[in-house]
Amino acid sequence: MFNLSALGAQFLVGLSRAMILFIVCSGMSFVLGVLRVPNVAHGSLYMIGAFSAFSISSLFGGSSAGFWLALIIAPLIVALVSLIAERALFCHLYEREHLMLLLFTFALMLILGDLVKLTWGADYRSIMAPPFLRGSVPVFGSSFPRYNLFLLVIGPLVAISLYFFTNKTKMGKIARAAAVDREMVGAVGINVSWVFAVAFVIGCYLAGLGGALVAPTVSITLGMDHDIIIEAFLIVTIGGLGNMWGALVGSLIFGLTQAFGVLFWPQFAIVFPYAAVVIILIWRPTGMLKAVW
C-alpha cells in the first residue's frame, strides 16, 4: 500500500493544500509582524474573499472569465473592506495591549461573520473552476486534480511576489523596518500610520486571495472563517511569529503531515498536524524561524 507512487501523489496533494495555507498565513504573519496585531478576523476576510468570488463568478454565469475576474477582484474587495476597517477602527488602537487587540479583532470576526450572513444568506455556495482546471490528470499512477496543480503554480508565484515586495520595494523595506523598530521608522520622518495601513491591506488582500483560490474546491459557507483561523494561528506560531517565511515552513509542515498521516493511519489522521505542532513547540518554543516579536 505504501508504494512510492502513493507517497508521491500524497506528497503533491499535501503540497497543494500547503499553498493555500501559506497564502492565508503569510498575510496574517505579515500583519502580526508589522502591526503587532493578532488578527482573529483574518479568517473572516478569507471567508469574504470566497463569498465575493462566488458573487463575481455568478455575475458572469459561472463562465471561465467569471472565475478569473473573481480571482482578481475578490481579493481587492477584501482589501477595500480591510482598508475601511483599518482607517476607521484599527488605527486608533495600535497602542493598546495585545489582549485588547485580540478581543477587538475577535469582536470584528463576529461582526464580519454576521455581515456575511446578511449579505449572502445562510445557503451553501459553490463555484466552478474553468473547464481546463476541472477533472484530474494521472500523476504517479493515481489521479491528481488539475486544480491542485494550478495551486502548486500559484503558491510559489505568490511567494516570489512577496519576496520582491519585501526586499526590493521601498514600501516593503519600510514595512520590514517598522516590524523591527517602529519608533525608529517614525523618527526618520516616515508616516508610520500609512505604512501600517498599507501593510494591513496587503495582509488582508492575501486572506482574500486565499479565500478566492479555495472557493472552487470547497463549499462556501458561514463558518469557514473558524475552520481556517485556528490552523492559521498554529501555522504562524510554529513558523515563528511575524515571519512570512515561517508561515511557508509552517504551512508545509501542516499540509504534509496531514497528507501523510491520512495515508499511514487514516483513522487518526486528524492528530498528525497537531502532534507536529506540539513537537515543534517543545523543540523550538519560538517557532522554526526567527520570530520578529
Binding site: 493544500r17 459553490s126 459557507t221 491520512v262 487514516p266
Partner: protein, 408 residues
C-alpha cells in the same frame, strides 16, 4: 362632614358601576391558542435547514388555522439555539416556563435535541424533533414525551445496507466526518450490512475533522487502497466538500460510492454541473419525487410562498404541524396526556403518502429513496434517478429492538 360622605358614596358607586360595566361589556373569552415553541438553529451554516423546516411548518399552519383546531388556532414562536446545547436548553426552558408553550419542536443539533428531550421528560411537554438525525431520540433515549418526525441514522444506515447488500461488493472502506452523526451513520450501515451479508469486509476507515476544507488527501489515500466500494458518512457543508473532491479526482468512475443525503437537492443545487455523477445516495424526500398529485401540490404551495422548492426539513416541519393538529382533533381535548394517547399510532396524509406515528417509539414512518446522481436536461443541477423506494417498515428498527435498546 355630610357633604364629604355623600361624595364618598358617589365615588364608590361610580367605581362599582365602572367595574360592572367593564365586566359586562368586555369581549367574550376565547380559547387560548395552542402554543408551539420552536427551538432551532437560525444562525451559522445550519440556518439553511432550520429556516426550511420552519417554512414547512408555517405553510402547514396556514392550512390548519383556516378551520382551526378545537375552536382555536395554533401559534408558534421561535428561539435561536446558535447550534449550542446550553443555549438550546435554556431557550427550551424559557419557552416552557415563561411562555407556557404546549408543545416544543425543532432543532438540527443532536446535542440540543437530546438535552431538551431529557428536560421535557420531567416537564411533561411533548417535544417533536424534526431535523436531528440521532436515532437515540426514539430508540434508547426515547420516552413518552419525545417524538421524531424526521429520519434518523438507523433508518439511513439500514437503507444503505439493504441497497449495498444486493451489490457484489466485498471490500469496503468507511470514511467520514469525525463527529457523532458521521460515526452513527457508519456504524448503522456497517452493522446492518454485516447482518445482511456476513462475508463483507472492512479494509479501512478514515475520519476527518468537521469542516475539513481539503479532502483530496483522504480521497487519494482511499483510492490507493483499492476497496470494492466506499461508504462516506458526511453531511452539511462537508458533504459539498466530499462531492467536490470526488468530482475533482474522478473517484466515482473508479469506485462505487454510497453517501446518505448525497442526492439531496440542497447539496446538489449549489454545485450545479460541478457535482459528480454516479454517486449512490439515500434521501427521505425529493421535491421532484414521488411524482404524485399530493407532492406536486405541496411543492407548488411551498414554491409560491417562499420562492424555492421545499427540502427535506420542510417536509418534516410540514408533517409535524399536521401531526400536532390531527392529534389534538383526535383527542378532542387540550389535555396533553390525551393528546399523546391520540397521536400514538395516528396516521396522516403527507406529500410522500401515509405516515404513521409509531406507538412503540414515537418515530414517524418516513420512507427512504435510494437513487443515483445524474445530469438531466430538465434541471441545471444533478438529481437522483432510478429511484427505489424503501418503506418505513423496511428500514425502521422493530418495536422489539426498541424495547431492548431502552431496557439497557
Amino acid at each position: 362632614m355630610k357633604k364629604k360622605s355623600i361624595w364618598a358614596i358617589v365615588v364608590i358607586v361610580v367605581i362599582i358601576a365602572a367595574i360592572f360595566v367593564y365586566y359586562v361589556t368586555r369581549p367574550p373569552k376565547i380559547a387560548r391558542p395552542i402554543k408551539v415553541g420552536i427551538i432551532d438553529c437560525y444562525s451559522g451554516p445550519a440556518a439553511v435547514f432550520g429556516n426550511d423546516a420552519l417554512n414547512g411548518f408555517k405553510l402547514a399552519l396556514n392550512e390548519i388555522n383556516k378551520e382551526g383546531v378545537l375552536g382555536s388556532k395554533i401559534e408558534f414562536m421561535t428561539r435561536d439555539t446558535k447550534f449550542k446545547v446550553d443555549i438550546g436548553l435554556s431557550m427550551a426552558k424559557e419557552l416552557v416556563m415563561r411562555e407556557n408553550v404546549d408543545i416544543l419542536a425543532g432543532t438540527i443539533n443532536s446535542g440540543v435535541a437530546l438535552a431538551v428531550s431529557d428536560y421535557v421528560r420531567g416537564e411533561k411537554v411533548p417535544f417533536f424533533v424534526w431535523i436531528s438525525k440521532t436515532e437515540q431520540i426514539t430508540k434508547e433515549k426515547g420516552h413518552r414525551y419525545a417524538f421524531s418526525t424526521g429520519e434518523n441514522t438507523y433508518m439511513a444506515g439500514k437503507a444503505g445496507a439493504v441497497a449495498l447488500a444486493k451489490k457484489p461488493y466485498i471490500k469496503y472502506w468507511i470514511a467520514g466526518d469525525d463527529y457523532s452523526y458521521g460515526h452513527d451513520i457508519g456504524n448503522a450501515a456497517w452493522r446492518n450490512l454485516k447482518q445482511l451479508k456476513p462475508e463483507v469486509e472492512k479494509i479501512g476507515e478514515s475520519w476527518w475533522k468537521v469542516g475539513e476544507p481539503d479532502l483530496i488527501p483522504y480521497i487519494t489515500a482511499i483510492v490507493t487502497a483499492k476497496p470494492d466500494a466506499v461508504i462516506f458518512c458526511t453531511g452539511g457543508a462537508s458533504m459539498t466538500n466530499v462531492l467536490k473532491a470526488i468530482k475533482a479526482t474522478g473517484m466515482a468512475e473508479k469506485v462505487p460510492i454510497w453517501i446518505h443525503t448525497a442526492t439531496d437537492h440542497t447539496v446538489l443545487k449549489p454545485l450545479g454541473p460541478g457535482a459528480p455523477e454516479g454517486v449512490m445516495g439515500t434521501m427521505d424526500y425529493h421535491f421532484y419525487y414521488p411524482d404524485t398529485p399530493a407532492n406536486k401540490a405541496f411543492v407548488k404551495a411551498f414554491q409560491d410562498a417562499y420562492g424555492v422548492p421545499p427540502g427535506f426539513p420542510a417536509l418534516h416541519g410540514y408533517i409535524t404541524a399536521h401531526f400536532i393538529a390531527e392529534g389534538f382533533k383526535k383527542a378532542g381535548s387540550r389535555n396533553i396526556e390525551k393528546f399523546i394517547d391520540a397521536i400514538e399510532g395516528l396516521s396522516i396524509d403527507s406529500p410522500v403518502g401515509k405516515i404513521e406515528m409509531r406507538a412503540c417509539d414515537h418515530q414517524a414512518t418516513l420512507p427512504m429513496y435510494l437513487g443515483v446522481t445524474k445530469k438531466v436536461p430538465q434541471y441545471d443541477f444533478l438529481i437522483s434517478t432510478d429511484i427505489i423506494t424503501m418503506t418505513g417498515a423496511e428500514i425502521l428498527p422493530t418495536c422489539e429492538e426498541v424495547r431492548k435498546a431502552r431496557e439497557k
